[in-house]
Subunit: 365 residues, 4 copies
């Protein structure tokens, strides 16, 4: 059994506050506690494909703890098992370049790869592990908080803070103006940000992808409030929310080959419908990537640091093919395979949903 | 000459952080220093039309200093000189109901009216003053900072802070992801928020209504950065920015009878064009009314308090038809008529524009 | 068995962000879901002693969710079982006025009392329950996070954010100036705030009440950093930290009859010793009650809302003498007696302590 | 007349948010607009004494705009005209090492020196200019805002925001607890931070160095509020505030050779006296260097950028011995000598003082 001497680390997928805290904790733990060497792989799996790897020492991670982004860069396009050559004019080809990626690992003498990322990143890591026997350890990361294998992921609390702060600001102005304010937050398939920011911000209506909504129910709620003297309302809508049975065709936010149905504009649609149906002026805000940016909250920095520390522990203890995760107050590991089998989505009997209903929130149904 | 015994105050037009600070300072100064009675008029000029007036005492303004919004409510539709009856189904009529408004003032024995608001509110105040001899004192308020008669208006610094904070957050995520981030901020006719938040946030491109832009110039700037190794860029765009000679037809943000051409979606348009022309992934954020909300900054609280104090001083000293304003470090008064004659707009030789150019910002031209 | 018709609620002990969110959730759940009447008891147990009770309706809790403080007021002096008469000049007497408190409950026909508070408040609630059979339900609240029966209490995350934000600011200025910055945070008996804010803020040294420190070890750490080129260091110290074996007598922060040994000034002492022993300029900050103030974080608002919702559920389900608490992702109840038996304190084998050590933090030992 | 080819820049004195924005603007303007070379001098004048100079290029200032601190480091001890040798055990000697500093300038072929700093830094710059004919341009910097020659200095708005945010937080907790909260902010000789943060935060009492206070007047104000039902009060005290005629000897904050009378602990003294005299529980907070840290506000970033841009303009236009400054909305230059002749201090007839009095603030007199 080969001794672990060198650890590789990459950050893949969408940006998420706390990535630098993970990297810092990995470098400290590996270098100080175990005398290992750490290699940073640049721009996620792209760095393996393009041989873009650099050594990380303590000095490299000095001062990065409170910073958003990732010093390693990230990419959510470069899947070594299904790589799309970029290039203007020519037809896109999908190729398996995983052998090339493995060569980079071999060349750099990386004994174990710590893959920090969401569903997509973990899936690729698991393929390397299962198909090629590559020692990998996963660290979960998803702003949407929709991964299993952990109670919560870092980045979510930061996004929640940003979204709630925005809702708080809309609240005062909605009240002064007697308006309906619609705010679109992240969450294409899982509505955790909308749900929790909506509860925290006192949203009157929360629309999540998991519960298709009836615009009529939304307008009824808003009218009932107006009848009771509250001529303003706040609607928090996840970007992936959709009307029951209805169609949703709006300006797309992006061209993304890997995800052609990514939609934008649900906020505009809801605001326009509400204004037309209730006669109350409605405005919308689309927060977008602001939610992924900036300095992580203390909660996320601590969680990310613990994940980084335990990822090295897991690597040294040869828990390959596993992902670290928070369970209650403890960090535990789960097989990556299990963690990514099904996404964590909002359910009607979730305690937070029940609490939101108890304080009067309408979910559009 | 009638002695001043009672002061009326209304807040009109769009919401703006600092309104409560003005109201508080007016009530304190009037009640404590001059033993006057203060009447709050509810929902701007609508309160005069609909006889919605209430006495304001020290206890009513306790604790409101740090709060966004306005305890008096506001309205930007109810012009007594050109009043639009609301009502489903019937044709809209425009009527002059200023006599009704004056009756409310008379009935409540209001000796002088302090009108806190922007261009529209001041214009109406001035009409009351010029046509009907109503003693009025203006307090300037516009989040867009486009009023003359004052170096700066309260609310602007708060909006600037919110916009800059959002840009800061986009910065870290843009850098990690190698993306172009487009952020749309307020400013339909004047680009001060975009200009100053763009400079403060290190925006690479700033697009304002005053300087029609060439999308080609925007893309050139972004490409030059990419060639120099910076594969991300930040574009700050005022909602009223428009391409040189070009047409801009995008999803409207609102139905607003008083302003049918209010546009939204410039951010989406710019992001899509940039992505198509440069091949770099682009995302957008529309901040919307978040910029008008929340607790005012200390700068705005202080300025608003000074305005409120001096508005009462001006009322007592019978500077009717005048508006208070900041000049250097002093508060001075200007005839409302002069202040609203032309808007304050961004000019190419403005020192802030020159500073922005000096640090490398592109204005799309 | 008497049917529950009326719920009383009080907030006792130190202030804590999230109290208003609990009150709001209790009122909504009780009124909407169960048709109960809610009575607010003013200023904690003092309201029971002095017959200061008022009805709480939905309108009373409108808009309070994001606000710090408590609309009910609080008091940490008025223990009905050991009441101290205030009054200048006369000797303090301690009396049992619990019968008086019970009369207020009877007079107001309160069927169950929800007591929101920390150790002291829960202890009194439990005395009412055990000695007098009063139906009580506890809601844990302690900024120090030192209560058992729950993984975490609301208010802690807010305090952690405030402390970490302050540390972040000190960081940049410490680095520019090559100084040692000592920051004193709350935590007289439990060092959770210092520990977690220290980890989140990248503190080089963390001193908590649980681990007596050696100033020599602190200075060694600071000197090692200076030798390695880092001429600045951050020391995070809990107000209750104390040197090993040594004596700590410094300027008292307060006169508090119930707690005569409350100390302040540990920050000053550490800063002065460090400066004397290392020759590096040292400065200190004492955050004080800033940590208890302001708007609660989303995390705390959500937790507090869930506690409020479940407190009513527990009341209706007659789980008297129990306290609600968070366990993993679920809200569960525990007998108050168990929850307050021993405080939750920092232990050397705590995972957060181990993570902090892994990233290089010194605990002064 | 020698052509300007190389610009040197140093940052001296206390840390101040916005320093990096000045450096960035200087480098951009000098390199882009004028093709100059920029040299950064490390740790203020110490860098000239110890030959610690490095070239600054565009890449060096990338990303520093929003960061607190200064990438050049600073020092407030190393005066080349009166240099104190450090070294344990030996008596301190004061020597004139200005010739050594000039040699460093000559060796590095620096044609003009931009000195960013407060009173002390400008004084030294002016000595180099007057005694040795060194071409210097000053950029004012003082968190206390006590420099003449400019309406305001960068850093002040950031400090004001931090102090006001802290006061806001104390407000909610003071109200819930019925306590007096005393907060000590920076300002040894000038009370601008206390004055403006006190006005912005709704402080009931503001104590500044310029107006010696009577503790009796402070307590009277607090008692009057309590009599009127407001059982809490907020006292904002500048670190340099002192009682009328009285003596103030409290725990010193620091050992600072250059300033042996720097005092700390005024907050503790006021809190203890208030508690003793009014019987209302009182607590204190000492913000300390938190006020100098963190990311500058947009206002400060813009002002600092403008100063940097104009400092290069002034250098190129040979306005030596001058300091840039804000006058109204414009940047102008003033002879350094004039700017530092007398400090800008709070006066009783200042409009902000009058506004604060109008809203009911007590200045302890």
């Amino acid at each position: 059994m080969k001794k672990i001497r060198k650890v590789g680390i990459l950050t893949g997928g969408g940006d998420c506050p706390g990535l630098n805290a993970v990297i810092r904790a990995v470098v400290h733990t590996a270098c100080r506690d175990y005398g290992l060497v750490v290699c940073g792989i640049i721009d996620g799996y792209a760095g393996l494909i393009h041989k873009n790897v650099r050594k990380l020492e303590l000095a490299d991670v000095s001062g990065i703890l409170p910073r958003g982004g990732t010093i390693l860069g990230t990419s959510n396009r470069d899947n070594p098992f299904n790589y799309t050559e970029e290039g203007a004019g020519k037809a896109k080809e999908h190729r398996d370049v995983s052998a090339q990626a493995l060569k980079t690992i071999e060349y750099n003498e990386i004994d174990v790869l710590i893959a920090v990322g969401g569903d997509g990143t973990q899936h690729i890591a698991n393929q390397f592990y299962e198909r090629h026997g590559l020692p990998v350890v996963g660290v979960p990361k998803t702003i949407d908080n929709d991964l299993n294998g952990t109670d919560v992921t870092f980045g979510f609390d930061t996004a929640l803070n940003i979204a709630t702060t925005a809702i708080d600001k809309l609240h005062s102005t909605a009240e002064a103006h007697h308006r309906v304010m619609v705010i679109e937050v992240m969450g294409r398939y899982a509505g955790w940000i909308a749900l929790e920011a909506g509860l925290a911000g006192g949203g009157d209506v929360i629309l999540v992808p998991e519960f298709p909504y009836h615009i009529q129910a939304v307008c009824d709620k808003i009218r009932r409030r107006a009848d009771g003297g509250k001529r303003f309302s706040l609607v928090v809508v996840a970007e992936g929310a959709k009307p029951e049975g209805g169609q949703l065709v709006v300006a797309r936010q992006v061209n993304d080959a890997s995800d052609p149905i990514r939609l934008g504009g649900i906020a505009a649609q809801v605001a326009n419908q509400v204004e037309d149906m209730t006669g109350i002026e409605s405005r919308y805000t689309i927060l977008g990537h602001v939610q992924r940016g900036g300095s992580p909250t203390p909660y996320d920095r601590i969680l990310a640091s613990r994940f980084g520390y335990h990822a090295v522990e897991a690597a040294v203890n040869r828990k390959f093919g596993h992902m670290v995760g928070l369970r209650g107050n403890e960090i535990k590991t789960t097989p990556i395979k299990e963690a990514i089998a099904v996404p964590r989505r909002v359910r009607a009997d979730d305690d937070i949903v029940r609490t939101a209903r108890a304080v009067g929130t309408c979910f559009g149904a």
